[in-house]
């Protein structure tokens, strides 16, 4: 080792001094070993597809949030000390407000560019959560969560959940009338927790609502605790993306054992690096032209005041829907109250998110597949998974509608009672309906793929045969397309085998196995996938019989 490095130094000495950049790199390598890392990663291959940039949008908006957030902390006072407003915004002059609200007014009206940074911060937060959700859907519908990426799926899911709560604690900080209403809602929800609810409430707020503590406590949670955890998860998420190498779509030359694409240096360095600026630029332009969270219009929070049409940021909308459509069930027994009308939504709220998060593990268990998967599934080729995902989205959306039931009522002149009842029924009916419809569409698309492979592409050329019949000429697909359309696996459903063994004794099959077989049949059995064309079928159709 030492002789080798001596030789290297001698070589540089002979050639004269190396350029400064090289010397710096050598210095760093001698202490950090960066050449090993660079060798593995500098020319790392990434496949290209538009849907792979959704995760990048999340990453970049996170960076934007951190940058603008640090700036905001320079001016924001996380204090609930009451002050009288004397700033330049006339309508609020003389009004009592917390220092938190007052300093947010100061940022918006007295710090040059402060309003812009505040609005970039808030817009980026909305984009961040939205991009994470869409990115997660991309991963879900293409099966990119399968082995070896389950852990990264969980990391991503945790980032989504933490992102929602970081957003909630963040928009509560200015202590304005709108966000205070949201905090009150949270307080009411905590109170509904059986046995410990009042204790949790007192400990979180440092006494009765609203008290003088929640802004400073939320501040620590918002700028330190949650972002710290998220930064750690994010680093882990990215390390795993590099370590696993990116998934890719099926296609000619693309197998489960390779990754086809362009190198990190220079192509993705430029594309991904440039994309950061694109995202930042678009969000900055949004902040320039579209006002977000105009706290001066809401005024400071008072627990005895409220505005109509109060809405949380969009990512909390589905929890709002849950609380709005739940019937007001309340049980009073033995001197205790169980407020199911609030507690049940509080339980369903995490369950909605967990439902989609556990699917990869259920699917892996049912399928019993221990192979690594690096080729993405086309959503149509996994009708049950795709149906489930679509049902989940419809569930989420119907709750969003419920969360804005008052806005639907006022904008479309509908009865709020009718909307609430529609959402109540839709909560159960719409996901089921969506599942059935989506599954059928997937199967239809599979049939079309099968036809295309066996009969070729419709050319649009109509041919008249000698006996007068008109046919459309079909052109056989090129081999690369035929390969792409038939590259997916079609798992066999799990078979339980005969009820009795060879000695005529009844076999004991436990309930878990039975359930697994049942689920497996529903995922891969008859009616759950269209058998893909075989070489024999193709040969029979293309050999000599002419047209079809």
């Amino acid at each position: 080792m030492s002789t080798a490095s001596h030789e290297a130094t001698d070589a540089t000495a002979r050639r004269g001094k190396a350029p400064a950049g090289e010397r710096l790199a050598d210095w760093a390598d001698g202490r950090l070993g960066i050449y090993g890392l660079a060798k593995a990663n500098m020319r790392k291959i990434f496949p290209d597809h538009w849907s792979f940039m959704l995760g990048e949008v999340s990453l970049y908006s996170f960076v934007i949030i951190i940058l603008t957030g640090v700036y905001l902390t320079l001016f924001f006072h996380p204090s609930m000390q009451e002050v009288v407003y004397n700033g330049p915004y006339v309508p609020l002059q003389g009004i009592r407000m917390s220092e938190a609200f007052e300093s947010t007014m100061h940022i918006s009206f007295e710090v040059r560019g402060g309003l812009l940074i505040r609005q970039i911060h808030h817009w980026a937060a909305l984009v961040f959560v939205a991009a994470m959700l869409v990115h997660m859907m991309r991963v879900f519908f293409t099966g990119a969560f399968r082995k070896p990426r389950e852990v990264n799926w969980v990391f991503g899911f945790l980032l989504l959940v933490l992102g929602m709560f970081t957003g909630f604690t963040g928009y509560s900080l200015p202590d304005d009338l709108l966000s205070g209403t949201g905090v009150r809602f949270m307080e009411g929800a905590i109170l509904s927790v059986p046995i410990v609810g009042t204790y949790l409430q007192m400990f979180l707020f440092g006494g009765e609502f609203p008290g003088h503590d929640f802004v400073s406590r939320f501040y620590t949670i918002h700028i330190l605790l949650l972002p710290g955890i998220m930064a750690a998860l994010l680093v882990g998420h990215l390390i795993l993306v590099f370590y696993h190498k990116h998934t890719q779509w099926a296609g000619p030359g693309r197998t489960n054992k390779n990754v086809v694409g362009m190198p990190l240096l220079p192509v993705y360095m430029a594309k991904a690096g440039g994309f950061f600026f694109l995202v930042f630029g678009v969000i900055a332009a949004c902040a320039a032209i579209a006002t977000i969270n105009p706290i001066w219009a809401f005024g400071p929070y008072r627990p005895d005041q409220v505005s109509t049409g109060a809405q949380p940021d969009w990512y909390m909308g589905f929890s709002e829907g849950l609380i709005r459509v739940m019937p007001g069930w309340e049980i009073n027994l033995w001197g205790h109250t169980l407020q199911l009308g609030v507690f049940i939504p509080l339980i369903i709220f995490p369950l909605v998110l967990v439902t989609i998060a556990v699917w990869p593990f259920i699917e892996a268990w049912v399928t019993g597949d221990d192979r690594e998967h690096h080729i993405l599934d086309r959503p149509r080729n996994r009708p049950v998974r795709t149906g489930f995902g679509a049902a989940w989205i419809s569930w989420y959306l119907i709750l969003l509608v419920g969360g804005g039931n008052d806005l639907w009522a006022t904008h479309f002149h509908l009865s709020i009672n009718a909307i609430t009842w529609t959402v109540r029924i839709g909560f159960f009916a719409i996901p089921a309906l969506t599942f059935v419809i989506t599954k059928r569409i997937c199967l239809g698309l599979q049939r079309r793929d099968r036809d295309k492979v066996l009969h070729g592409r419709e050319t649009g050329i109509i041919k008249r045969l000698p006996h007068g019949e008109f046919i459309e000429v079909h052109e056989p697909l090129p081999q690369d397309q035929m390969h792409t359309l038939t590259a997916h696996d079609q798992p066999e459903p799990l078979e339980l085998g005969p009820d009795v063994d060879e000695n005529g004794v009844r076999r004991k099959v436990d309930r878990k196995t039975k359930l697994r077989a049942k689920l497996s049949r529903s995922m891969y059995g008859e009616g759950a996938q269209i058998p893909k064309p075989t070489a024999a079928e193709h040969a029979e159709i293309t050999s000599g019989h002419g047209h079809h």
């Binding site: 290209d48 560019g113 030359g253 600026f277 627990p303 005895d304 109509t308 009308g341 390969h483």
Partner: protein, 351 residues
């Protein structure tokens, strides 16, 4: 690269050995044909087109520089309180608009330049790279397990039961200190949520005028908000007190009141109800004078003020608490005590 060359490369026989791909049985029509040949872009074969791309990228980077200069200029030029009309955005802050758009352009142009550079000038040839199994080879696995067993053995963890037990005990007890420290996050609930600031003889103060209310101040169909006497807006704990004590006062025709107790607790048809919704605590603010319904704008719980504050729609679980009121010797409305039941959202100890 001539056309003949291209067609030559496209022949399957050429591809067999020239490109990567899975080896499939001969004659399989679905076999992987391997990576298609790279098709050059115009920039790869025509230097003039490449030069045009170069100029486009440089133009975008220059635009970014200009926009940054514009950002700094806007920061200096526009006063922070200048409002201008800009179609179609309406009246906007000139500073915010100028800073945001110049910053947006400065950033976007860098991104657009970099992406254009990557797409038109950097090599777009797709190359394969091998994947390696994530899991370790069986030998490595064996080695790791052997090392682990050896390490555990050398520690004597398995043999020295006393050490193991006491260590587990110490490690599981020590986090308790942290939990105990959290105790002072807040007081215990005790009966705090059961009572409000209202007491017998307290006058009802109009929140708009800060004056005590007389029955004649309240007309049929109006909605008045009141707070307890002696609660000043600049009091240290105003927010926390008003969060429970806020009151809604309406006057009904006594014959419209369907609930007997409500009638008893009213004064000449004037009824006082808690303003805090029994669902999750929003202040109820919308009053429909014809039906005597009040609606919480947060989650649309609807209560009938002519029928004991009963819930008639929405997610609230129980009726609004009513405050018993009367008129004192000077002719002012006064409370006859605190609410009989806790106001606001339900909780476990409410009963």
């Amino acid at each position: 690269m001539s056309n003949e060359d291209m067609s030559e490369e496209n022949l399957p026989s050429e591809r067999e050995h020239a490109h990567h791909g899975a080896v499939e049985p001969v004659g399989d029509p679905f076999a992987d044909p391997g990576l298609p040949p790279h098709e050059p872009r115009r920039q790869d074969i025509d230097e003039r087109t490449a030069r045009r791309s170069e100029r486009t990228v440089a133009l975008l980077f220059t635009l970014s520089m200009i926009a940054t200069v514009g950002f700094i200029a806007s920061y200096v030029i526009f006063p922070i309180d200048k409002i201008v009309y800009i179609f179609p955005f309406g009246h906007v802050s000139a500073l915010n608009f100028a800073l945001g758009l110049t910053l947006g352009v400065a950033l976007f142009a860098i991104g657009a330049g970099a992406v254009h550079w990557a797409r038109t000038l950097m090599s777009d040839e797709e190359v394969p790279d091998d994947r390696h199994a994530i899991e370790a080879s069986p030998e490595v696995r064996e080695q790791v397990f052997a090392d682990f067993r050896q390490g555990v053995k050398e520690s004597q963890y398995g043999r020295r039961k006393l050490i193991r037990t006491t260590m587990m005990g110490a490690l599981s007890l020590v986090p308790l200190s942290g939990v105990v420290l959290l105790r002072d996050l807040g007081p215990l609930p005790e009966k705090k949520l059961r009572t409000t600031a209202w007491r017998k003889g307290m006058k009802l103060i109009n929140q708009n005028t800060d004056q005590p209310l007389r029955p004649e101040d309240i007309g049929v169909g109006s909605l008045t908000f009141a707070k307890p006497e002696g609660l000043s807006d600049d009091a240290e704990n105003f927010q926390t007190v008003i969060a429970k004590a806020a009151l809604m006062i309406v006057r009904l025709n006594p014959e419209d009141i369907k609930d007997k107790r409500e009638l008893d607790w009213s004064h000449q048809g004037i009824v006082a109800y808690s303003k805090i919704c029994t669902h999750v605590g929003c202040p109820i603010s919308l009053y429909e004078q014809q039906t005597h319904h009040v609606l919480c704008p947060c989650h649309q719980s609807t209560f009938d003020l002519s029928d004991g504050g009963r819930v008639i729609f929405g997610p609230a679980g129980h009726a609004l608490p009513q405050l018993r009121i009367s008129v004192n010797a000077q002719g002012y409305l006064e409370a006859l005590g605190d609410f009989e039941e806790p106001v606001g959202p339900s909780f476990w100890e409410r009963g």
